[in-house]
């Protein structure tokens, strides 16, 4: 019994992380480059080929992987070897662990670990990601790395508050913190036609959550910890697979944000206006999982679009936005939600 349970859990982890998340993350690195090329009127990478197969450049992630594995693993002089080794691992592991509580389909079978306070788990484990940034920048014994790490840590701490607070409104409306319960609650229809999705009952919460979580992801317009054009970055000294780990973490985070947003604000695996009675048992589950994956991909695409549309903030603008605009707005959102809930 116990061994069976462990085996099934392990299988779920493999399917979710390796087959879905890491694959999607790798494909997103290609989407990112092709999309930026499209926006900037270029072709983008399309030349990697095996035999005569080019597949629009889809083989580039595989080529990248070989490159990352075979490059010299360089550790700068005076670097702190232990933390230099630990930092990328912390960054990737803390991000991947968050997928444990995402419900991919109806019932407990489609969640790796169905927790009662799943959303809190994500916020808690996700906060370890800061250490990847902070320790990585410090351990590389480079002033620019340190500067990037300081920027990164300050930014992540600031926007984490807003990100957490904007989920409170949804918790209050649906009366639960369990992600599977949240999804079940979003299956209802408002006034008989409007799906009661998180984005419908908490529109302000969703916009603020998306902004804050994109800042947590450290990508443009919030990419000051990395600052490609200034060559300041917490991973400036990282090369080969260590750099690739940081790079992949960023793309896994895109998937994670999309998964959280799809679960909390877009009804998870619920298909609106579809009567489950009308479809044969197995198909409906497959369709629901497929629809959830579709929502995740759509939200990934939205994040990519935002990243390649907006220019970078200045650092003071970033801090002002976080503390003086987003935080008061999200507090106001909670107060208004509470008043409305108390009156109705």
């Amino acid at each position: 019994m116990d061994w069976m349970f462990m085996l099934i859990a392990l299988l779920k982890v493999l399917v979710v992380l390796v087959v879905f998340v890491l694959m999607l993350g790798a494909v997103l690195t290609w989407v990112e480059r092709r999309m930026s090329a499209l926006i900037q009127d270029r072709l983008g990478p399309n030349r990697a080929q095996i035999g005569n197969v080019r597949a629009w450049g889809l083989l580039h992630p595989i080529a990248d992987m070989f490159k990352a594995f075979t490059k010299e693993d360089f550790v700068p002089a005076g670097a702190n070897r232990m933390l230099f080794f630990l930092a990328p691992a912390i960054a990737l592991a803390s991000t991947l662990a968050c997928f444990a509580v995402i419900p991919f389909g109806p019932g407990e079978h489609f969640t790796i670990a169905p927790l009662d306070s799943g959303m809190l788990f994500i916020i808690a484990i996700g906060s370890f990601g800061i250490y990847g940034v902070a320790l990585g920048g410090w351990a590389s014994n480079n002033n620019f790395g340190l500067l990037g790490a300081l920027r990164g840590a300050a930014q992540l701490v600031s926007y984490e508050v807003t990100m957490g607070l904007n989920l409170v409104g949804v918790f209050a409306v649906f009366g639960t913190m369990s992600l599977s319960q949240l999804v079940l609650g979003q299956g209802e229809l408002l006034w008989g036609w409007l799906p009661k999705w998180g984005v419908v009952v908490q529109p302000v919460g969703f916009v603020l959550f998306l902004i804050a979580s994109m800042a947590e992801n450290k990508r443009a317009p919030f990419d000051l910890p990395e600052g490609e054009s200034e060559i300041i970055g917490y991973f400036a000294e990282f090369s080969a697979m260590r750099f690739a780990t940081f790079f992949l973490t960023e793309f896994v985070e895109i998937v994670l944000i999309a998964a959280i947003a799809a679960t909390v604000f877009f009804g998870g695996w619920q298909i609106p206006w579809l009567d489950p009675q009308g479809v044969a048992g197995g198909f409906i589950t497959v369709a629901q999982i497929g629809f959830f994956v579709f929502k995740i991909i759509a939200l990934c695409w939205l994040q990519m679009l935002i990243r390649w549309t907006l220019p970078r903030f200045r650092y003071d603008q970033l801090m002002n936005l976080g503390w003086k605009v987003l935080l008061p707005l999200s507090l106001a959102n909670i107060v208004v939600t509470a008043i409305v809930l108390a009156l109705s």
Partner: protein, 176 residues
Amino acid sequence: MAEQIVFYILATGVLLGALAVVVPPFARNPLHAAVALLTTFSLMAGLFVMLSAHLLAILQIVVYAGAVMILFVFAIMLLNLRKQDFSPAKITAWKILGAAAAFLIATRIAMVAGAAVSTHTAVDLSLEQYSTFGSVHDVGIALATKYLLPFEITAILLLVAVIGALVVTRRQGGLR
């Protein structure tokens, strides 16, 4: 049985982490000590989970591992503290007194804890109590009813700390 094994693994980790914060070969580097403290805080959360205090475990990670420790790391990085070379310790009267006091307190705590363990009877929670014990809902209700006054006083205390920090960091000659 499995629970005991997990407990001993976590407890060993907590103690080793705590030792590594202060014992020289590891603690000589301030950031290593910070990472050791982080390990202790995180594994403490595991102990809370075993006591079915899930909310407390998560708050432990969010507040201590997430917020408090990152400030420590931040300060260490800003001051750019590298390896500390401790000069050979001098034995002074104060240190002897301090060691004696620490020893007395430690034995006293051990005695109290030992007495508590020997006379302690496990409280049997009913299944219903067990399923909600330590949940967000229960802790929230308790904070807003039974422990409202301590809760509010803590909030005021934190507010005072925030204002104090502002006053200390404010530049001379008013607000900017």
